[in-house]
Subunit: 499 residues, 2 copies
Amino acid sequence: MKKPLLIGIDAGTSSVKICIFNINGELVRQGEVKIAFSSPRPGWIELDLKQYWDATCRVLREITTDLTGFAGLGFSVTSPTTVFLDDEGLPVRPAIPYLDIRSKEDVEELVKYWGGEEDFQSHVGNKPIPSTYSAGIVRWIMREENNSWNRTKKVGFLNTFLCGQLTGEWAVDPTVASFSGLVRLAEPFKWSDELRELSGIPSSKLLTILTPYTKIGEVTPQAAKETGLPTGLPVALGCADTAAASFALGLSQKGDCFESAGTSDVLTFCLDRPDFNSMFLNRSHVYPGRWLAHGAMSTPGAAIEWLITNVFPELGTVSELEKEAERSEPGARGLIFLPYLAGERSPIFDPNAKGLWLGLRLDTRRADIIRAVYEGIAFGLRQILKYAEAQWDLKIKSLPCVGGAAKSQLGLKIKADVLGLEYQTTDFQHVAALGAALLGGIAGGVYMGWEDPEIPYLKKFNSCFKPNFTNYKIYDQLFTIYERLYPSTKEAMHALNVY
Amino acid sequence: MKKPLLIGIDAGTSSVKICIFNINGELVRQGEVKIAFSSPRPGWIELDLKQYWDATCRVLREITTDLTGFAGLGFSVTSPTTVFLDDEGLPVRPAIPYLDIRSKEDVEELVKYWGGEEDFQSHVGNKPIPSTYSAGIVRWIMREENNSWNRTKKVGFLNTFLCGQLTGEWAVDPTVASFSGLVRLAEPFKWSDELRELSGIPSSKLLTILTPYTKIGEVTPQAAKETGLPTGLPVALGCADTAAASFALGLSQKGDCFESAGTSDVLTFCLDRPDFNSMFLNRSHVYPGRWLAHGAMSTPGAAIEWLITNVFPELGTVSELEKEAERSEPGARGLIFLPYLAGERSPIFDPNAKGLWLGLRLDTRRADIIRAVYEGIAFGLRQILKYAEAQWDLKIKSLPCVGGAAKSQLGLKIKADVLGLEYQTTDFQHVAALGAALLGGIAGGVYMGWEDPEIPYLKKFNSCFKPNFTNYKIYDQLFTIYERLYPSTKEAMHALNVY
């Protein structure tokens, strides 16, 4: 008998990637489609769900052609993307991704109920900011779009909508609900009455919270027609993309961690109790009794891209950029870079932070200027690591790194030296999709549950960068300076905001 | 009868420029030769005076060929460059220019006698740093080079040596002696006994202090043979280069000022009493009862050169650089540059200051990065202007600007807008040499003294940049941020010193 196949749908803000794996976690086929989001006003970001669904169907039809033996499907979604659905599960308005900041004032209003940010944080488990408090956007819609709100019967997230389209069943998963501001992270499967009443959202419009690997339903005949999937295929609700990646990597014990290095850069730590640090974005994990803390830098990959497009266009490629940076030396000859090119999330959570090069001298060269950017990114990660190790009493010795930026040899070498730990990388670029497919595998009964030892977690890495301790010492000194630089320039950064 | 000609010798650290003018101050002929200084150890800078003299003779012979009617010669010299001469006026060792910092500890030692830097400053009139305290280098030679010191009969400066070679007479002028640490600026023609005894220099080795336009002597037959100059030509002692330029521009009233914009950038103010500000380098002027205060930035011109050679080599020329900067806008879209690429003199006097770009964002482009450098230089000048206006109760409305960087249209436009005043410039590139020649003219009796209304001061400027007040307001806000940035990053700058 043919081995069954699993489908992982990685639904992002700017693309949908769909991967088909065999039960050993090996990629069989893959398809991707770009998604256009719109920005009707500055700070507003919207996704047209009809287009999103159509694009998803198109890719599904294409990549499932000639294949049979599908045993399960699961989702990994950009999070939180809030959806407003009618009785039929159809969108009453475009979805609103986490990048949208229109609810800033609503969130500030809601926080007033608490003593302040810290009280909210300690009660809920996350900072009260639009990207981790989606109740703010619901409140905004309730107030500003009466008509949409009246037609809304189910408030959910991107996987709510997609699962509903496939199965006719709707639910919310705890990894995404963690960023709703309606759940206390200590009790991730329960809408908090206090939080819900505060935001004014009626409980009738909220959906059940189900584990990401729950079989929410099966592909309906209607959906089968649209997608080319077999009717009856078991579907898992899935979870937030970084949670899906954490699951694919088998992060199940306290202190297990990984870095996902893309446009932004996230260090994720597995926790075994709801003991949070406010410098992290925190959520419930896929595994019961486990949580994830994300230390998220906003623009590391974007900074490298920026060097090529905006600053040194003559170099043209990442490879030329890195060749140039290698002409410098560890410490970039005394030049420090703060990588806050679009504000920063962890650890400073300051949307008005700015980038900086300090230490320019007459003998500073282009090579130093570029290398300082790579080092500044690594210092940012080290700062996150430092807070994580202190908060959770960890001593991280090696770190798996996945994502687009994990291809940068120079970047990884510098990170290994700056953080003083071993970096492990892989060419495999579909970690979140694998996580989604594995959740589908549990829902489909291919695996016996999250505790099944047969789950083919991604544990093989094809290269490893060990730290050089001579360099580590150089960076160690610079890191002390790096850490003090933001506090001393914060005021100027904010003053520059008017330009 | 043919009109007489005047010779101005502008003796620098890296070149000697000799200009011949008619009595209307018009250039007749010009010659220049590069001088190689040596750096036997880090921080040490030396000039071989034999080579220096030979090079000077060569240029003099070349440019005086076929010309007659010379009526006077004067010097403008890089200052202070300390010379150690034997009984014959020949150097016992290489000369030591102001860039040499080997006497740093000697100077610190000498300052201990006073309550501290401020006490020294208020007594003497300048900061106790190697470049304005040449007694420190004499003390170093006394201790470290016993043999040289024993053979030394006259301690003087570069014009002492050159005049001695031409005339067989030796003296020191007050504009250079102002940086000796042996003269109280309030009494510029008198070696201070207290200061001299403190440094341990015997009065027998010090020379008379004479005004820069004094006829120190006449060209000797021996010198005539070497230089091609006529025997008997009257020679003026001359003065420091910026003082010579101030004289050429006729800066004689309180508040008269000009900018000399080259590798470094100096704002010079004429004072009518010895009322000094410690953020300036202060000296006696050519005119009796007048002083000069120099606000000196170390690397403005060097920073532009640095952008081309080290940072954006693909742009290749100043003209391409400025074209690119013009693609940005006033305020460089919120990017600020601190121009301390080799530490800074005025107003912060910090050899360990470093350059900085702050305000980098994902939409910052190369054009902004370049423009910020031009603006940072202008902010530095504005800071100097601000302290000058406050200290001496001035309101400067227009500023003559001379020197190599005065050719930069963009630089001048930005300076006019940032400082909020009119910039006047000239293509004439020999201001200090003209000053030297005019001093020679007084010594030779062509002019009746410093008060002669016939002295052809440089008063014509061929272009003028008026401030745009819309831009001024933009810069005004940024300037507030600029001013606070050094104090808040100073500690980090110093910490980066180890690299």
